[in-house]
């Protein structure tokens, strides 16, 4: 592709780009515009759509019921991101500081669960969390038996109250906690991989320089390593936050009636209630929330990247 005349270049450009351009415009951009337009429409008398300009659907979103669902989704996604970061960053750091030939092995170990079907991975947690699941079998079985025995043989309120507690299953299934566990499990590799890429590129002579300049380890980490690996953290957080915010499968399988998320509302509006315009407005709300979350996060990220010099760290 070196000796192409301008005309040949134009032709080859057109040939190479047109299939994807066509596909993305017809099957992505156009559907997106339909949903945007639909969110200003009204539900017709017979279930169809009336294309007029109304803000009715967005006004319905302001209902406390939906505000609550949006807030719940936002906080569940936020908590999931934080937990993924707290688990994922140390793991990424650990892998990146192994000998090079071992790193590939550990990254592969990380990718196997990642490439396993999401439904299957969520289903595995049903086996663990439900009332007859692994945790509760242990809780109401051996742990209960031990607590009863200890309560009979030892003084104190602790053992008897523990034996009372363990008589009942923990009721983990169907809670926000179950959803968060499922989401963290599902998206953790998405956090680790970008963090790993950033830490692996990090030049460790910089942290040595900071230590030579009498920065302690915490300071070296906070002022040198952390800011320089921040792009990876930001990328990883986005890769976790966005799918968590729009989650459908996890709250559907692990959550209950009191832990509905935006994804479930969108599903029920489109597939059960058949109120397409309102469903479209909820989907718009999800995308707006996603953009807001991204902007806040990157603003905060840019502010903390000011100081990256080892000299600075020593001050």
């Amino acid at each position: 592709m070196i000796n192409l005349s301008p005309r040949q270049r134009r032709i080859s450009l057109a040939v190479l780009i047109s299939p994807s351009l066509f596909w993305l415009i017809v099957f992505f951009l156009f559907p997106l515009l339909i949903v945007v337009a639909m969110s200003f429409g009204q539900r017709g008398t017979y279930g169809g759509i009336e294309w007029n300009l109304t803000l009715e659907n967005f006004a319905r979103l302001a209902d406390p019921l939906y505000i609550k669902i949006f807030w719940r989704s936002f906080s569940i996604a936020g908590l999931t991101t934080i937990i993924c970061l707290l688990l994922g960053y140390p793991l990424a750091f650990w892998i990146a500081t192994r000998p090079p030939n071992r790193r590939t092995l550990f990254i592969m170990l990380l990718i196997v669960p990642f490439w396993t079907n999401f439904l299957v991975r969520t289903y595995a947690w049903i086996l663990i969390l439900r009332d007859q699941g692994l945790i509760n079998v242990a809780w109401t079985g051996p742990i209960h038996a031990a607590a009863v025995w200890l309560a009979a043989n030892l003084p104190g309120v602790f053992w008897s109250s523990l034996s009372n507690l363990t008589a009942e299953p923990l009721g983990l299934f169907g809670t926000n906690l179950a959803i968060i566990i499922g989401l963290v499990y599902g998206w953790l590799p998405d956090m680790v991989l970008p963090c790993y890429a950033a830490i692996e590129r990090f030049d460790f002579s910089l942290s040595e320089a900071a230590e030579d300049l009498y920065a302690n380890r915490l300071r070296t980490f906070l002022r040198v390593i952390f800011p320089l690996t921040l792009p990876g953290i930001l990328a990883g957080s986005m890769l976790v936050f966005i799918p968590s915010l729009g989650a459908y499968v996890t709250p559907d399988l692990l959550g209950g009636a009191r832990s509905v998320m935006i994804g479930n509302v969108i599903y029920s509006q489109f597939m059960a209630a058949r109120d397409y315009p309102f469903g479209a407005a909820v989907a718009m709300g999800l995308m707006i929330l996603m953009v807001i979350g991204t902007v806040i996060y990157f603003r905060a990220g840019v502010k903390s990247t000011d100081t990256v010099q080892p000299v600075e760290a020593a001050r």
């Binding site: 592709m1 070196i2 000796n3 270049r9 450009l13 040939v15 190479l16 780009i17 299939p19 994807s20 351009l21 596909w23 099957f27 156009f30 559907p31 997106l32 339909i34 639909m38 688990l87 140390p90 793991l91 750091f93 650990w94 892998i95 592969m108 990718i111 196997v112 669960p113 490439w115 396993t116 079907n117 999401f118 439904l119 299957v120 289903y123 595995a124 049903i126 086996l127 439900r130 699941g133 692994l134 079998v137 499990y185 953790l188 991989l193 942290s207 966005i242 799918p243 729009g246 459908y248 935006i262 994804g263 969108i266 489109f270 597939m271 469903g279 989907a283 999800l286 995308m287 996603m290």
Partner: protein, 265 residues
């Protein structure tokens, strides 16, 4: 960060995170060999559920649908995605920036949003929901993923190799066919493998764009899980874990063949 309690803490945390990642998978596989129908009873080992699984016609049909969708969407999106990756790395044109944004959007948009967009489009276009609409939808997100992977490979491409081919009187097509394409191959195969996995894995978008008779494997698993936990689901899930292990291993072999480091996505 090389000495002292930090190191032990880091070792411990890495070890426990790996345990967290693998424990549910191992528990699932273990349950799939459990002779008891009730998951919380252990009655010894059996292969009974796997035998059931291979005799289940509905699952066979779902697997067939999944493979049709995954193979065709992978083929289309690999060709289109590679072509568009070449454009983005090698050409400058009017509107490149907005097109770049459009190319990234299917990757970052929540899948529920993309699913309802496509459903509404197909409904308004009066298209019959079925395998065709699922394939169209999968291509719509896979083009972007293939393009990202191939672009990563292209950005590390040494242009002097092509110049050398030209100096040796290779014409443009020969240069592309004999030099550029073989060097790009690990990236293209990596992109294809990713597209195949994503297509095989997708539930939400398929769920919204599927019609009667086009149930794929994830849709089948979903309805089985919704009906209740059964040993058959455990066996099916374990088989799928095995398949993903094989796929990861293949991608590892591909990348070892001179490719760039582990692809991010």
């Amino acid at each position: 960060m090389k000495r002292g309690p930090f190191r032990h803490l880091l070792n411990l945390s890495a070890l426990s995170t790996f345990a967290f990642l693998y424990a549910p998978i191992l528990i699932l596989i273990l349950y799939s060999f459990n002779a008891s129908r009730l998951a919380y009873n252990w009655r010894g080992l059996t292969l009974h559920w796997y035998v059931d699984l291979f005799q289940n016609r509905a699952i066979g049909a779902a697997l067939k649908n999944s493979l049709i969708v995954a193979l065709s969407s992978t083929a289309i999106s690999t060709v289109f995605g590679t072509m568009v990756a070449l454009v983005m790395e090698r050409y400058d044109f009017w509107g490149k920036l907005p097109f770049d944004a459009l190319l990234y959007l299917p990757i970052i948009i929540p899948d529920v949003a993309m699913a309802v967009m496509l459903l509404m489009f197909f409904v308004l276009a009066h298209m019959q929901l079925g395998l065709i609409t699922i394939i169209i939808s999968h291509v719509a997100f896979n083009i972007s993923f293939v393009a990202v992977v191939v672009r990563a490979r292209l950005s590390q491409f040494d242009l002097t190799v092509e110049e050398a081919a030209n100096d040796l009187y290779a014409d443009n097509w020969q240069t592309f066919r004999r030099v550029t394409l073989p060097l790009l191959m690990p990236g293209i195969l990596g992109g294809a493998l990713l597209a195949f996995t994503l297509s095989l894995d997708d539930f939400v978008i398929t769920f919204f764009t599927a019609g009667p008779g086009s149930t794929t494997l994830p849709l089948r698993i979903y309805s089985m899980v919704k009906l209740g936990v059964t040993p058959e689901v455990n066996a099916l899930s374990s088989m799928m874990i095995l398949v993903s292990m094989v796929l990861v291993f293949i991608s590892y072999l591909l990348q070892r063949g001179g490719g760039p480091k582990i692809e991010m996505l």
